[in-house]
Every structure is written in C-alpha cells, then in structure tokens.
C-alpha cells in the first residue's frame, strides 16, 4: 500500500448535505492506483453517496475532489472535468441498470462507439472478448431481461470495462442478487482485482472484503470512523462503532 505513485482519487475535507442531513462530513481519502478499497457501513451511513461523488452522480457542497488529475468543483460546476472523469471511471450498480432496449452486445458497445468513437466492428470484437472474460460469451445477442441477475451484473461489468477505465466503482454489486448468483459476480470482480484494477467497492460481503481488499474503510454517519488493512479492521477494530457494526453483520 505504500507506493510513491500519485493518488488516483484525492478527497479533502469533502462535505455533502441533503437538506439538513449531513451525508458526508469532512471526508479525507486518497486512493492509490492498483489499490482495492472496500467501504463498509450501515445503510444510510453515506457509503454509496461517497463513491457516487467520485464520478459526479452526486454533487458535494464543499471540499476538494480530484480524480486522475481532473479537479471536480463543488455544486457540480465542472462539466468538462466531469466528462473526462466519467470516461475514465467505470461503475457497476446495485440494480445493474442495463439498457433493456438494447441487446447485450449493444449494451457493451454503445459507449465505446458513441463516446470513444470506436469503429463498430472493433467495438464488437472488444465486447466479445470482455463477455468471454466474464463468462457470458454465448449470451451476446440476448436482451437483458432474458438473463439471470448474475448474468446481467456480469454484462454490466463488461459494459463498464469496455471503456477501459482506470478506476472501477462498485455500488453494492451483489445486494440485488439471489444468493446462488453472488459467487459468480464476486469471482469476476476477484479476477479484475488480480489483474491490478483500481477498485472502490461498497459491499456487505465481509468475507469477500477480507479476501480482496487492500484497505477497508468503515463509514459511520457520513464520517470515516476507521480504516485499515482487512485483518486489522476485522480482527481488531479500534472504534466502538466498528465493533458494534461488525458484531451485527458477522453474526449470521
């Protein structure tokens, strides 16, 4: 974790309010290229909001946020930087958010063609390679509704990877899945981590977090309450809130 590379994500004194609710409170966070960071915390703690700030799906009111050298200003006032960031940061959502009117292959090739200006045949070739990598090469011409949840989420992963992102965000990628499909999605993510992708993952899968994370961050009421290597955070949590949270989620 101690590399000299400049951070790919740099947050300083980040604050976000939803009306009177202080969703993110004075967040300081740096993520190093190649690092796998898992964010845990109770629902409503602000962990999803935190990663959604990184690609500008949520605005913040004050503080500094820099992603791969692009500076995002508070209140969403940085259209150009935001556009650049979004082409370089991929995201996988809890509800997959595949485009239901497009076939699997069109889901994956849309952004490379329209945003990167790739030729169609070239985009299709890349898409097929990515679909094979996540184990669904044979589903390329189906529509999202014809796939299982696990397959849909793997298509969503391939779709994000098609933009060749420098950073991948995962917002509870397995929370909407039936238990028997969680494994296949986690396997695909595990592979990605092994290949050195920088990943920020919000999840409730503590076993997975312990296994793949370089660093685990515990968020409580919009603040980073504690962070550290998985062994340290899971086995010897310092903060009382972390202990209480882990006691709750690790019980079952």
């Amino acid at each position: 974790m101690t590399t000299n590379k400049p951070p790919i994500v740099r947050m300083q004194k980040l604050h976000k309010h939803f009306g009177s609710l202080h969703v993110l409170n004075d967040i300081d966070l740096e993520i190093t290229p190649g690092e796998v960071v898992v964010i845990i915390g109770a629902s409503g703690s602000g962990k999803s909001t935190l990663i959604r700030c990184i690609n500008g799906l949520e605005e913040f009111q004050s503080g500094l946020l820099e992603v791969d050298g692009n500076l995002l200003k508070p209140m969403g006032k940085s259209t150009k930087a935001l556009q650049t960031i979004r082409t370089e940061v991929g995201m996988v959502f809890q509800q997959f958010n595949l485009f239901p009117h497009l076939s699997v292959i069109d889901n994956v090739t849309l952004a490379p063609i329209k945003v990167r200006g790739q030729r169609r045949d070239q985009a299709i070739e890349t898409a097929k390679r990515l679909l094979a990598r996540v184990g669904i090469a044979d589903q390329a011409n189906k529509y999202p509704s014809q796939l299982s949840g696990g397959q849909q989420q793997r298509v969503a992963l391939a779709r994000a990877l098609a933009m060749e992102p420098r950073l991948m965000l995962f917002d509870e990628p397995t929370s909407a899945l039936d238990p028997e499909m969680i494994g296949e999605v986690l396997d695909a993510m595990r592979e990605l981590a092994k290949e050195g992708m920088t990943m920020v993952i919000v999840t409730h899968e503590m076993g997975f977090a312990r296994e793949v994370a370089d660093r685990v961050i515990f968020i409580h009421k919009g603040e980073i309450a504690e962070q550290g290597a998985p062994e340290q955070l899971f086995d010897a949590p310092q903060h009382e809130r972390t202990q209480a949270f882990l006691a709750r989620v690790l019980k079952h």
């Binding site: 690609n55 500008g56 799906l57 556009q83 979004r86 082409t87 940061v89 991929g90 995201m91 959502f93 509800q95 958010n97 595949l98 485009f99 239901p100 009117h101 849309l110 952004a111 329209k114 945003v115 990167r116 529509y143 509704s145 969503a156 779709r159 994000a160 933009m163 965000l169």
Partner: protein, 223 residues
Amino acid sequence: MDVNFQFDWSAALASIPHLLPGIPWTLAISFGGLAIGFIIGIFFGLLRLSPVAWMRWLASVYIEVFRGTPILVQVLFIFYGLPQLLDGPINALTAGIAAIAVNSGAYISEIVRGGVQSIERGQREASLSLGLSRAQAFRYVIWPQALRRMVPPLGNQAIISIKDTSLFSVIGVGELVRQGQIYIATTFTALEVYFVVALMYLAITWTLSLLLRYFERSNLADQ
C-alpha cells in the same frame, strides 16, 4: 306525415358512396393534425422537464390552455376568429388540422413528459457513468425506452383526435359528418346515414387499434 321507424337497409347502403368522400378528409385532418401535434407534444413535453423554471412554466401554460378549453371553441376561434387578426381567411382544412395539432399537442406533451419520467433514474446514471453526454443519454437510452411506453397512450390520443374531427363539420370542412349532413338534407334518412357514419369511424379507429396492438406485440417481443 308518415313516420317510418323501420331501419331501411337499402337507404343505408345507398348512402355509402356519398359518405366515402368524407373519409380522406377525416384522415387528412386527423393524421395531419396528429403529426404536427406529436412534434408540438415532444417540444412542450420536454420543455416541461427542463431544469429552467420559465421553460417549465411556458409549457404548463400551453398545456393548461389547450387542454382546458373545448376543441370546438378552438376550431371556431381559428376558423372565424383568427382571420380577423390576420389579413385574410383560413381555409377549413388548415383550420381543422391546426385545431387537432394544438389540441392533441397539449395532451401529447403530458404523454411525453410521463413517458420520459417513467424511465428509471438508474438508466440515466448508467449512461452518464459510461461517459455519455446528457444529450447522448437521452437520445440513445432514455428516449427509445420512453417512446415504447408512450405507444399505448399515443394510440389512445389518436383515436380521440380522429373522433374530434367530427366536430369540424361546423366549419364546413367536407369530413365524414359533414358529408352525412349534406346527404341527409336531400334524403331525410338520418337514422341510416348516421348509423353508417358511425360504422365508418369505427372502421378507422378499430383498424388503428389493431395496428397498434400488432406494433406493441412485435415491439415487446424483443425485450
């Protein structure tokens, strides 16, 4: 006076050739008006979704005015009223098409707004997260899905507008009802003629229903 309560099938049959010329007029006013109404509807429907307050307000005013006044008054206003403002008469066909356009446009605005708003927020978020611009997200992801959901209410509106054209007999445009009135004036067979006129409307609207149902089915099959 000899009052005859019998339905005279031969009179009904005989009226058909005299009524048929009304069909192209009815269709021209309906579909001409609806085509323009669709463009108006897209414009004001999207304006209603604008982040800019005065644009939303402008769209609301348009919708409230043309949805809140009778289409009969609208066509009379256009045909008899507007010529006093402009310099010269407006022909009845133009007035009819314009009335359907502005009237259906108001309803279609709401259909467009509803269709676009019905698309889950996640679709837009996924598009933006892939680097698509807001315009691209709308064009490639949101609009195609919204359009599919708009087909049933649009079909509904088309049927309503087709029937609304029957009111335009008051401005003398030679649509179905007008042809019926002219024919009845010489034959006094109101019962038979209006029955046939009704059947002709039914034939048009039912054909449209069948086409829409077929379109919806083939469209949903790939999802």
